[in-house]
Symmetry: C2
Subunit: 592 residues, 2 copies
């Protein structure tokens, strides 16, 4: 039997005989002696095999990388010159008495010393995960879920499982569907979240629910999405927004404290409106010091329509980002930023370089100076607090376009110019609008079960577009870690919101009749939040992608190169399910 993990052998085992299992991380033959770095999930220990122990030496001389070995030997101190303080095992080494090959390995198809293609890494995921970097990420993730569970259980939350085979809803265009065998022609859907079930659990009096649960979304895998992802899902009765934010903030602080020894401090609260105005984003990265400054009021009177048009339009916006030191940007760089904002619909990127304020107009440099007067320029310089060496970059147009374009530009400038300050900048974004308008209809900004804020209840009747919801997002370093809300807990309010969303009563009955019915029976006030576990772990370990913190992720075409999923189904089985495929995959080489 194993004495302990390789990575756990240290000076407290000195002079003891230990038995270890692990993989050959590296073998070196030096001065007639074989050195094996033996690795397991907890770390690496150095094994020394002397020719005196002939059988062990012979075996050790034959091992290659990634052979699985058992080693028995005596723990001894390393010569002081060889002590490696960066390794937990760096003060000792194992003088081998026995070396046994448990299983051999050919040369690996992955070269750990260089970048491997994602396809190759996923195909040989079991080898990719042997890399200490990847192993440690999965260990870290396991620690995160362990701490989360213990924290929530210690706070009276019950772990309750909700179904994976749930109702397909007509509007669930991103639902994964599962044909039913018993109810032919009908389908289950895999849940995008357990939202309604967790609300039903509150109606059943469970009071505090949590679940670390797989959710599913069948969407284009742009950016960093996966078909299945994991939520830390939380719901509680009789707590208001403040109560939920308090406990979930405490949970995240505990994670950072325990796992990273970081004190996140108290999370500031910022309204959605302020976040959009100052940062052009509802999930601002507060490590980025750049802000959007509104300058419209200085520009209403000028002739230059590009500025004065939106400045005089209630739905317009004119704003500037003042980039410290940005006066050194080349014309080419500025043009590139112009193209960048163009992607977001901005029609150009006006700019003013502030070379030397003391020189007045002479100290400024800009193609648009000629369109501005002294009043406007003074107001802009003062509002943006521009200093010598800065550049001002302008957006002008309708509010949404300017805000999004400058919001994206702010992020890009922050990265390009290495402006980020501090390591961790959490905040709560609150006071979201209930609705957003598109195609002449109202849509729920969060979801249709979100309660309005107390002060907005009247507005639902008078002016729903102005109504604010009782929702809250936790944001860290520009990433939305989690989002939640107080839920509607009366049938009347839920019916009202469905009506505002244009879900007619018949449709509401068909889709959500069971919810409306359930709301009748003494439903408690309830609220909750869901964290994206993958993103949370990704941020905490500093990975670039959520794929790097999942054991077996899919590619960006939602396939698994390891197992070959998805695959062809048995025709007999499809017949039993009463479905047919309209495309024969064997003839559709394009999708492979």
């Amino acid at each position: 039997m194993r004495t302990n993990y390789c990575g756990k052998i240290d000076t407290k085992y000195l002079d003891q005989t230990v038995t270890l299992f692990g993989w050959v991380n590296k073998r070196r033959d030096l001065g007639g002696v074989v050195f094996i770095d033996l690795r397991d999930r907890e770390g690496i220990v150095q094994v020394v095999v002397d020719p005196d122990t002939a059988s062990a030496f012979e075996t050790a001389s034959s091992v290659r990388s990634e052979f699985c070995l058992s080693v028995a030997g005596i723990v001894r101190a390393r010569p002081s010159a060889q002590v490696n303080k960066d390794m937990s095992t760096g003060a000792i080494e194992i003088l081998a008495k026995e070396v046994t090959i448990i299983n051999k390995a050919p040369a690996l198809p992955l070269d750990w010393n260089q970048e491997n293609s994602e396809e190759q890494r996923l195909k040989y995921r079991y080898l990719d995960l042997r890399r200490p970097l990847m192993t440690n990420r999965l260990i870290f993730r396991s620690k995160v879920t362990s701490i989360v569970r213990r924290f929530l259980e210690d706070n009276d939350f019950l772990d309750i499982e909700t179904p994976i085979l749930t109702k397909a809803t007509p509007e669930g265009a991103r639902d994964y569907l599962v044909p039913s065998r018993t109810h032919k022609g009908e389908f289950f859907a895999l849940p995008q979240s357990p939202q309604l079930f967790k609300q039903l659990l509150m109606m059943s009096g469970m009071d505090k629910y949590y679940q670390i649960v797989k959710c599913f979304r069948d969407e284009d895998l742009r950016a960093d999405r996966q078909p299945e992802f994991t939520q830390i899902d939380i719901e509680t009765s009789f707590l208001d927004a403040g109560g939920v934010m308090e406990i979930t903030e405490r949970l995240v602080k505990e994670l950072f404290q325990k796992l990273l020894k970081v004190d996140l401090g108290n999370f500031p609260h910022m309204s959605f409106a302020e976040a959009m105005r100052r940062f052009g984003s509802d999930k601002p990265d507060l490590r980025n010091p750049l802000e959007l400054t509104d300058v419209a009021s200085a520009l209403t009177h000028i002739e230059f329509k590009v500025f004065s048009g939106p400045a005089n339009d209630a739905n317009g916006r004119v704003a500037a980002i003042c980039v410290p030191g940005g006066a050194s940007l080349s014309r080419k760089q500025i043009d590139q930023y112009g193209s960048f904002v163009g992607v977001y619909g901005a029609k150009g990127l006006a700019w003013i370089k502030v070379n030397e304020l003391a020189k007045g107009l002479e100290g400024l440099q800009s193609p648009i100076l000629k369109f501005l007067d002294a009043v406007a320029i003074d107001a802009i310089l003062s509002a943006t607090k521009a200093e010598d060496g800065d550049i001002l970059l302008f957006g002008a147009g309708d509010y949404t376009t300017v805000t999004e374009a400058l919001g994206a530009l702010r992020i890009k400038l922050g990265e390009d110019l290495s402006l980020l300050q501090g390591q961790w900048k959490p905040l709560w974004v609150v006071d979201f609008p209930m609705f957003e308008e598109a195609d002449g209809r109202l849509h729920a900004l969060h979801h249709p079960f979100t309660a309005p804020s107390d002060s907005s209840i009247e507005k639902l009747s008078n002016n729903p577009k102005e109504a604010l919801s009782n929702a809250y997002d936790m944001v860290l370093n520009g990433v939305e870690l989690g989002g939640g809300s107080v839920r509607i807990h009366t049938m009347e309010m839920q019916a009202k919101v469905f009506e505002l969303l244009g879900i007619e009563s018949e449709e509401a009955q068909e889709k959500f009749g069971f919810l409306l019915e359930a709301l009748k029976y003494g439903t408690p006030p309830h609220a909750g939040l869901a964290f994206g576990l993958d993103r949370l772990v990704m941020l905490m370990v500093g990975a670039d992608s959520i794929r790097d913190v999942m054991a077996f992720p899919k590619t960006n075409t939602a396939a698994c190169p390891l197992t070959g999923a998805p695959g062809r189904a048995n025709p007999q089985q499809l017949k039993e399910l009463s479905i047919a495929t309209l495309i024969d995959p064997s003839k559709d080489a394009g999708s492979e």
Copy 2:
């Protein structure tokens, strides 16, 4: 804010003002005073509302069952005559100062005081779960998973998630399928277990893995199955069968100790062969004292072919169950047991009543006595240790039929005659055959990744039907709580077993090529076990069905009466998935 749960208010709150939230379990108006039993998930507390507090009294007088209330009041001792020692809150009551209706409720569609149909219970599951019996079961389940997780984490197991969208395999007739949007005409399958992924995790060096994970099986929901069920899934490297059995036995003992204050003791080990021989089952309920006794050797010489035929056949069996006190069974009862074993293929049920041994043949009563001689009768009586008042029930025929029929009869007799002794009788069943033969082919008794026992490796080549596997099942009270095995960890052995199973090398490559490939790269020896969480909890809480320990189970037609799942899919969505339904569910009233 709430002071504590209703069920947690006791004498330590005496004379304090408390605020509680909960539901009206019952209201009584007695002697001009209103009594409300206020319930939350933790229990019930008695609230007294006096007419002196006019507003509270008025409100309290109007509340009905299942209204959601908040109550503020002072905790006082109950008059000693009213102390209820069966309730945690039975020594106190709340003298209400304020009673507020949070949400009303109409009369419930479920009557908790009588049996409700399963359909109705599932349709109003949120109300069904409010019943303290059901609430307590979900709380208990949450405690089980919490203890399991902490135990495994404290034993170095990592919680690692495996995919839900996995590979559809041609033979996976019971797989739920999920059409892929990106790879048109292809399908994912929902996993029946994470077997291959957990083995891959061992190959990746994770060493000790666990997951409490949903698994899926699309089968007829006879007996007590659910389309989705939950496994406690465990896998470990470098441990043998004994090591896995030791740690998982310790886990189950800890659960029973912590949650039921029961010491299960050490689990006996019994070979598959012994279990089948003595109990006619590979999951014997050891609370049942009845056993199958082989009597063939006493019957080889007699004329009576019904007995001597199988007694002289290597594949035959003649066995008897001796039922204490069974001589009092009526002819009708015996006939009914005869019909019962007929279901299992037995051709009849011979019997001998042992009325008075001292009287010799005279003391016996049986239609078959005339076919037996004294030698046979003496041998039977001696082998079965029959005593006065017992009945002997015989099975004779081929080994499997007799064993299954008498095994089922043993269970039925145990129930009918209330013979079960003791509350908890765990055991390990070991030494399973590697294969069973059917349709002239070998099939894996567990699964094709199960390793042979060390002593059976040679038999794989010579006599595979006799080979034993290194598998083990944990059985409690006749229920298989969990099963596992040592896995094959070399490519050569895996290929050999595939070959024996008739999985040709091309087919093996297509289905399991990735596993065979993975086995090459220094795979460690590994073994594991999976518990059925639903069954475990069901047994521990004494529920009759796994549906009673799941929050939102499906009916026996795999439907959810609450949400209406499964349902019709959007035709546009089916088109995007390149599938068509062959049946229009709106015209198929039969499936509703």
